[in-house]
Structure formats: C-alpha cells, structure tokens
C-alpha cells in the first residue's frame, strides 16, 4: 500500500485556488522531493496535509496508508504518523523543549493506545536522540524555539522528528535561512532518520538541499500541479535550466 496517495487535490485560500488537481504517490521508505518556484503552492500542500486552518479543500483526496486524512484534526494526523518540519518553527516562550516533547510523545502514545513513558524512560530516550543528532542536551531546558538561531530551530525540528518517529515526514523548505554548514548538519540529521519504513517529502526551492538529502524521486510543481516527475537527476537539470521551461521565471 502506498504511504501517501494524493489524488486530484484542490485547495484554496480565501477563495483563491492554489492547488489545482495535484497527484502524487509515495511508497514506504521513499524520499520524494517537490521543487518549484515561489508561489507554486508547495507550502500550501504541506499545510493542507497537516491540517492548518485557513485552507479549504475543494476537491480530491489525500490518503495516508489508504486512509483519508483531510477530515482529521492536526493532532490526529500526528497520531497516525504524519509529521511536518516547519519552514518557520514557532516560538513558545515558557514551555521548555523537554515539557513540549514529553507531552507530544505521550499524547501520540496515548492516542495509539500505548502506555505513556514515565519521566525516566522519556529522559533516557530523549538523551539518545540528542546524541544521535549531535544536539546539546541543554537545548532541552530552553523554551521551544525561543531565541534559537535559524540553524538551531531546524535542528530542533529534526530532533522532534526523531522523538516522534513518524511514518511520513514532510520537510517544508528546511534549507531556508541556513548557511552551508548548518544545512549539512540538518541534512545529516535527516539522513540518520531515513529507514525502509519511513517516507519523506522534501519541499524545496533549490537543488542545493538535495545534494545532501538525495531523493529517490523528484517532482516539479508549477501553479498548483505536478508538471514533471523524474529521478534525482531532474533536480540538476532544473538547477541548470530553471523553471522557465515550465512557463516560469528562472529560479534565482
């Protein structure tokens, strides 16, 4: 069964149609990249998949392991195994990373009918994940994303992915605002979390990120539709030729 199957998906914001009949299918363990110019609807796709307010789905469907997710609350989507790494992670002053992650991990366990982790087990697990991703533990005592640098925010997103162990992770412009060293660190973290059971959908404007997170499939998205799909070489082709061939301005 496909991990994710998007069928003729249409969505609008305040009456303006952004997704115009989008089709995509991903199998378990696959990494797909969606590339496209600004305004093509890439981030809208990420938001619609995770259930953010303000988007109205007007047609089509999105099936996660065969189950439609479009009517689910955001927390229910997380519980079935969907994860979004935010382009702009949100600061939550006064809530520490530890409290936040413990609440998240246990909420998901509870929703799945599993026992909640006690403080000791949770701390042990969090420590292991921090170590795996080379994240200093004292970051866990800071308020969620508050005062984090751009790189720290993106690494914290990857850590959350590691802690929540999703089946499908959507990475929304994870490269934005990162210098090359930070990008490598973040990509390295993502690569450590690749597994045959986990699929990833990497959304990016630039090919740069795909040098480090090498996709199995690349899709080009223009004006709310997938206009071309191919292997990882498609990313290089786009880097060289830009989006002009699809009736768009050259990628910057």
């Amino acid at each position: 069964m496909a991990m994710l199957e998007i069928k003729d998906l249409r969505a609008e914001i305040e009456g303006t149609e952004i997704l115009k009949g989008l089709n995509l299918s991903m199998d378990p363990g696959e990494v797909h990249a969606i590339m496209g110019p600004n305004g093509s609807g890439k981030s809208t796709l990420a938001h619609v998949l995770t259930g953010r307010d303000g988007y109205e789905v007007t047609g089509g469907d999105a099936l996660f392991q065969g189950q439609s997710i479009l009517e689910m609350e955001p927390e229910e989507r997380a519980a079935v195994g969907l994860f979004l790494a935010f382009q702009y992670p949100v600061e939550i002053p006064g809530v520490t990373m530890t409290t936040f992650l413990k609440e998240a991990v246990n909420s998901i366990r509870k929703a799945r009918g599993e026992d909640e982790l006690d403080a000791m087990k949770f701390t042990k697990q969090l420590r292991e994940r921090c170590k795996l991703l080379n994240i200093p533990e004292d970051m866990m005592r800071r308020s969620v994303n508050t005062g984090f640098s751009g790189g720290e925010k993106k690494r914290a997103e990857v850590l959350q992915m590691a802690a929540l162990e999703p089946k499908l992770a959507v990475l929304d412009e994870t490269d934005s605002g990162l210098d090359i060293d930070a990008l490598k660190t973040v990509a390295d973290g993502v690569n450590r979390l690749r597994s045959p059971e986990r699929s990833m959908l990497v959304i990016t404007h630039y090919q740069r990120l795909l040098n480090y997170i090498v996709p199995d499939h690349v899709h080009v998205m223009v004006k709310g539709q997938i206009v071309k799909s191919g292997g990882k070489d498609l990313a290089h082709e786009l880097e060289a030729e830009g989006y002009a061939q699809f009736g768009e301005e050259k990628a910057a």
Binding site: E75, V90, P93, G94
Partner: protein, 442 residues
C-alpha cells in the same frame, strides 16, 4: 444604592454594640472607630457603577443577599485537615474560620523569636496600645472606601503580625482563611495589621478557601507598614467557592530602602475585589504589585490598584495577567500617582488578558497621574485570544487541543508567577494554575 440593603447591617450593628460583646468594647478609640465606620458606611452605601472606582463591578448580587454576622458558633467543620499551600510540615500556620482565629487548628509553636503572630482579638487584650497606635493610622484615603468603613464597624478578629527589627523569618507564615457557610449567608470583616520592623524579612502567604453551599462575604482590611530596610513578601491565593464574595482593601506604606513584594492569584469567588493602596514614602522604597486571575462561569474578579510615589527615587513594577473562560469577567484598574517632587520615579505597569471565549470580558483602565518631570513610567495593556500559530504547532506534534491550550495559558501566566521569589511557593501557585486549567479539559 438601595436603603434596604443597608438595613440588616444597621440592625446587626445595633444588636452587637448593645450586647457589649464585641472584643475591646471597653476601648474608647475602638468604639469610636466602629461608630465612625457605621456612620460613614451609611453615608456612602454600597458603591454603584456611577462611582468611578466601581464602574465595572456591579454589586447588585451582593446587595440582594442578607448576610448574618458570622459567630464563633457558625462553623461546624467537616474538615479532616487544614488546607495548605506549603504543606503541613512546612512553615507556620495560622487558621481563621469565618474570620475568627482558631488556635487549635493553627501551628505557630515553631515560630522563631522575632516574629509575633496574634489574633486581633488576642492583641486587643494583650497589647491594646500597639493596635491603638496602628489601626486606622496606616490607612490613607480611606474616606471614600465604603467597605473599609463597613469593616471598621464590624471588625472583631484578624491577623496581627509583627516582625521585630532585624529578624529574618526563614520559613513562610501561611494564614488560612476558611469561609464556611452551609445553611445561611454569612458575613465577616477581618482586620489585619502587619508590621515588618527595620531590616527584617518575612514571607506571608494568605490562603483563602471555602467550603459549603451558602453565600459568604469576606470583607478584609489589611494595614501594612514595611519599615526602613525591611523586606516583606506577601503572596495571596483566593480559591473560595463560587458562592463567595470577597473584598480585600489593603493599605501599605513602604519606607526607605524597604521592599514590599506582593502577588495575588484569584481562581475562586463569585465576585472578588482586590484593592491595594501602596504608598512608597521613603527614598529607594521598592514594590512589586503583581497578580494573576483565572475566572470562568459567571465569576468576576476586580483588581483596582493604587501606587503612590511620594518621594524621589522610588521604584515599582506591576504586572497583572489573567485568562477568562465562559462568561468570566475581570477588571484591572491600575493607578500610578507620582507626587510633584518625586523625581527619578521608576514605575512600570503591564496588564495582559487572554480571552478564551467569546463571552468573556476584561475592562482595563490604566491611569498615570504624574506631577514630577524627571520620571520613567510606562504602562501597557493587551487583551486577546490565544495565538493561532503556536496552537497549531503544538497540535501538529500530536498534542490535543485542550492540552495545547492549557500549555499555552500556563506559560502565559507562568511569566508573572515566576516573579514569586521563593521557589517552593512559585511551584505551589503554578500548580494551582495547572489545576484550574485541567478542570476545563473535561
């Protein structure tokens, strides 16, 4: 104002004075104060919304009640243990039931030398001169406070705390005020005096709780003097029942180099009014006038504060934050008064409220009256819904909406609870916030 609302108080006052059973009835100064209190309360009556300081708090529900004076006999308690914020083993505890001191429920045996805790009634016997010198003498501008005068007319008991010069009282002194009324509505008017002597330091925790179904009116008046170099930490939790009316009028004078640090959390009550007047009357006097409130259903909480910067070089910070659910209502009216020669005053005020329902309401009225020219004063106020982005962020990580909401309100309020300097107490107050919030998740 309706005359009939005052009538029962009148009759009760006459009955009590005729019986001659009021504590200290042989003391002329006290009888005069009671007499003057009744006369002035008569003139003022219960304030209506036409009175500026009561514009947003309507007392009709209170006026409709006929309250009986609480006596020592009225409280038959079905309590296994005294409710405590700081734990039974910790600190020192004075317990009042319906305004009367209950020695047998209190634990003051371990109080160190230098701290004297008495009931007002005991003090009238043991140290009448101390009270004669202080009661009604610390207060200022009380003439227009009807509840102050009502308290004067009916005061019988309360807390007297005297911290001697140089004494440092390490453990907090918790004062439990239990409102207990099952069969009939009860009113009581506790009178408190707190003097922190020169260079002393103490922490006083007021813990107001209630049991029983009937209405209560607790009409507290507190007079406080923080003498030069002293530090007084004064924290208060009001967790009375939804049938409780709570009015607390406080007059504090903060002298040279002294620090008055206060925090008030209101979760209970049908109608609560906290009205502190803090006068910074010595140079380098410093005050924190902080608070938080959580109200739901038809609860109403009013914090009307006055801070006076009377001399140069005084400092005050005031933060009030709250969250309202259902038809919960809150009022924050903060006045900051800087006297003409009070140069280099540093005063900050902030009021922030989260409205968790469409029917909740906050009325905010910051008021800065500044007559000096070299001052730094600021104020800010916000009221609004929970921010959407953090809420979505938490939910996208699997945290259900009610829990996400609780986490956000908690962190919003934690910012002001953090101002409590004693760590154990900070946690105790945070736990109360969490308790209140978890109750809305069902």
């Amino acid at each position: 104002m309706s005359e009939s609302a005052l009538q029962p108080f009148h009759e009760q006052y006459t009955a009590l004075t005729n019986a001659g059973s009021l504590p200290g009835s042989a003391l002329p100064w006290l009888s005069n104060l009671r007499e003057r209190g009744m006369t002035r309360f008569d003139e003022l009556g219960f304030p209506t919304p036409r009175v500026e300081k009561w514009k947003y708090t309507n007392l009709r529900a209170l006026e409709r009640q006929v309250f009986h004076p609480a006596t020592t006999m009225t409280a038959s308690l079905g309590l296994d243990r005294v409710p405590t914020l700081i734990g039974e083993q910790a600190g020192h505890r004075a317990v009042f039931v319906n305004g009367r001191f209950r020695a047998e429920m209190s634990s003051l045996g371990r109080l160190p030398k230098g701290a004297k805790v008495m009931s007002f009634a005991q003090a009238l016997e043991a140290e009448p001169n101390l009270l004669a010198e202080e009661i009604d003498q610390i207060a200022e501008g009380q003439d227009e406070q009807p509840f102050y005068h009502l308290n004067c007319a009916f005061m019988q008991d309360g807390l007297v705390l005297h911290v001697e010069e140089g004494a440092k009282i390490e453990e907090p002194i918790e004062v439990v005020y239990l409102a207990a009324a099952d069969d009939e509505s009860l009113a009581y008017h506790p009178r408190h005096l707190i003097v922190a002597g020169k260079n002393s330091e103490a922490t006083l925790v007021e813990h107001h709780v209630g049991i029983g179904e009937a209405n209560t009116l607790a009409n507290h008046v507190t007079e406080i003097r923080v003498e030069p170099g002293a530090k007084l930490h004064h924290y208060k939790l009001n967790a009375e029942t939804d049938a409780a009316f709570h009015v607390s009028t406080l007059h504090a004078r903060v002298q040279e180099n002294a620090f008055y640090d206060s925090f008030t959390l209101t979760t209970g009550g049908q109608l609560s009014r906290n009205e502190p007047h803090v006068k910074l009357e010595g140079s380098f006097a410093d005050a924190r006038l902080n608070g938080a409130y959580l109200q739901r259903g038809k609860q109403h909480c009013d914090n009307t504060t006055l801070i006076e910067h009377a001399v140069p070089d005084t400092h005050c910070r005031e933060i009030f934050k709250g969250a309202l659910e259902g038809k919960g209502r809150a009022v924050f009216a903060g006045k900051l008064h800087v006297y003409p020669d009070a140069q280099r005053t540093d005063g900050n005020q902030l009021s922030r409220c989260l409205l968790l329902s469409n029917q909740a309401e906050i009325d905010t009225k910051p008021e800065l009256e500044i007559y000096a020219d070299d001052v730094v004063c600021s104020h800010g106020c916000t009221a609004g819904e929970l921010e959407k982005d953090p809420l979505f962020y938490l939910r996208s990580r699997g945290i259900p909406f009610p829990v996400a909401r609780r986490m956000m309100v908690e962190s919003f309020l934690a910012e002001v609870v953090q101002e409590i300097t004693t760590e154990d107490l900070r946690q105790a107050f945070l736990d109360r916030v969490t308790d209140w919030l978890s109750r809305s998740e069902q």
